[in-house]
Subunit: 231 residues, 4 copies
């Protein structure tokens, strides 16, 4: 005779299976939404299409996200916002030179953001910001400001430790930001169409930019503006 415990365990696992399914849905929807938003833009992506790609019906999407805008915000939070604490922690525990810190930061950004679909969000927001003011404000406070603060902290660290010239932080931030934004935009607009000898190799481009920035900040690198010296 099966012990009653058995019964209770089964009841528990049933609920657990359902719960697990329910918990998986948002993730599947967010993944589908990220792909489609990046591919077609916010306005041009239909809610039903996202649901379809996630393997659920239109109604289910709205069971988990109260509107298309909320879904987009969740995509941003899930893929960008959540990274800032980790990045900040890394920054604060970093022990090497600030030049190395900046280099690490920008390189890692490329590996973990720029070279993934997530960078499409940056392109998308830059493109559609003016049409969705509420979304733009959200992105401003959720991504731009923390990102700005992060870069600012790095530069500040370099200045405080006497590694960098005391620069105007406002433009220092943009100097770091511009190449990253440029890469994100390029990758998602003209990048794909380009090939041949002029094709931009992001890692190389970024390395050149980092050297240039560090040079501008007073740190003497081996070779400014390019890695491969012409003969």
């Amino acid at each position: 005779m099966p012990s009653p415990i058995k019964f209770c365990e089964i009841a528990g696992s049933v609920r657990a299976k359902r719960a697990r399914r329910k918990e998986a849905r948002p993730g599947e929807l967010l993944a589908a939404a990220l792909d489609l938003f990046v591919e077609k833009g916010f306005a041009a992506t239909r809610a039903e299409e996202i649901a379809q790609r996630a393997g659920v019906s239109k109604g289910t999407l709205f069971l988990y996200f109260s509107s298309k805008e909320e879904l987009f915000k969740a995509v941003v939070r899930e893929n960008i916002s959540v990274r800032f604490p980790e990045w900040r922690a890394k920054l604060e525990s970093f022990e090497g030179s600030t030049a190395e810190l900046l280099r690490t930061f920008m390189t890692q950004w490329w590996t973990h953001v720029g070279d993934t679909p997530v960078s499409g969000i940056t392109k998308l927001m830059t493109s559609e910001a003016s049409n969705f003011p509420e979304l733009a404000a959200f992105y401003e406070s959720e991504v731009i400001q923390p990102g700005d603060a992060l870069i600012r902290s790095i530069l500040q660290r370099g200045i405080v430790r006497g590694e960098f010239h005391p620069v105007d932080l406002k433009y220092g931030v943009y100097t770091v930001l511009a190449p990253m934004l440029f890469l994100a935009m390029w990758k998602h607009s003209f990048g794909p169409g380009k090939s041949g000898p002029n094709k931009l190799v992001p890692e190389e481009y970024l390395a050149v930019q980092i050297d240039t920035i560090l040079n501008g900040l007073g740190v003497r690198p081996a070779s400014p503006l390019n890695t491969k010296q012409l003969p």
Copy 2:
């Protein structure tokens, strides 16, 4: 009492005026479309609004352009490729130092392109490139490649004359391009919403970037990466 024929003669002169304006119609539509596409984006601009601003009816728009997409393509085609010959001529007749040439080039770009509605085309194209691959290819060959060649020529001039380090031109071009593209995008997306102490002043930003680039190219400027030295 005026004969009714008189009235119809007036109608005739109206017709004449119409005929005269007929030639101008596409141009007026293109101008209106440019303004609106830049202001609100492609999807958010209503065909009727364009027609209204051009002073014609919705039907007339579709008489000249078979669809909204075709109109968009025409807008982009019509507003580019026009300045390159002039710029190339200026470049070739320039007599000062190449540092000065580069500074002039970027400053003039801001004055005559970046800070005018024309920069909206850049933003527009970058935003919509993935939705109009055919147009993106056209833009690539009509704008990006000539622009690339122009900047390349400037850098080459500097290297040949011994003013610049011999850098890898491919990345040198992007180093010049990125701040310009960044400014154009910023101006048309998050720029307008921002104010306060962090507001980007394009002329200052550009000056900082120019100094940094020239510094990276081996030209020693007075103050790298910032204009206002901290004490």
Copy 3:
């Protein structure tokens, strides 16, 4: 050879025909909307159905009325609001006794409102008021208040001329209103299902009510509370 005048006349008539068509649309839509709103209620009536019954497409409806609520408001204005000025004029130019005025008012109301689909609006608003607060507020100011004022004026006239007892106008108004509202409600809810000897004959019911009211107001009628005396 046809005179040019001919041409101009034709052009004129063409425009006229179109204009006439355009002017007819709102009326057709309003008529269809009245029928359907009364038949099925505001919420349960689909916009497309209204358009269909008016012989146009869904889109056309929204060409003339910016929303379903606006369409409803227009139905109310067209069928009720517009009558108040006329009614007020009649009231002010009426020369007979106030008893006769009240009798005329209520009888005419039945003929021109109560016994037409328009009374369905009253039923509809009473039923759905709490679900559409904005509509309820509109109806309150557009119909209830003017109606209240009209009845109030009649009673006032009777009191001033010494024909009626000086009653509390607030309840006087409701005393007049209640039978009318009752009839409207009855007709559109239980009325249709009832037949046989107990079936309410509105004209008779109204006559009895008028007598009762006048009696209550101090005017001595021939037979209070009923017209047909039992033997």
Copy 4:
């Protein structure tokens, strides 16, 4: 350490409690539905909300009632026909004057029906009658006809005892009914929104109506049509 069996015993007692509540479920659902239908109307009440208020899940609701419409019908059926036997008994054992009986009847109706949520049923039924013809017929025979008979009996009593004029009972009934229906409708539609000097005070309104009716029936009250005589 408590044996796991204990836990399952608890589960067992939970099941017992469930079974006990099972009997109550339909009642709880009906009560919740009554409240919500009255408050928001049939269409605007969401099934889930009813379930929530009854403390069960959406699925359970459909276990007991096959559809929202069936639930509505059950709500109406459940809340009527209960008071008539009691009222009829009171009527038949009443010993005072018929004027007093009528006054008592209408006053008590207000206290025990009109001024309670039950009057919401009246409003509900009147509003939705045309959408539920079957239910309307049911209501007609279960509520309207017994109510009609009750009022008819009162008037008959007055006439037989020589207290009232011999009136046409058909319209006499509606004369009594109309103010009550009016109050019920008013309370649930425009009533709540209104305040200020024109706000209807039900008890006063009813008193005025009773006086008027009695006056019409030949019973001389102190002050017809109003309670507060102007000087």
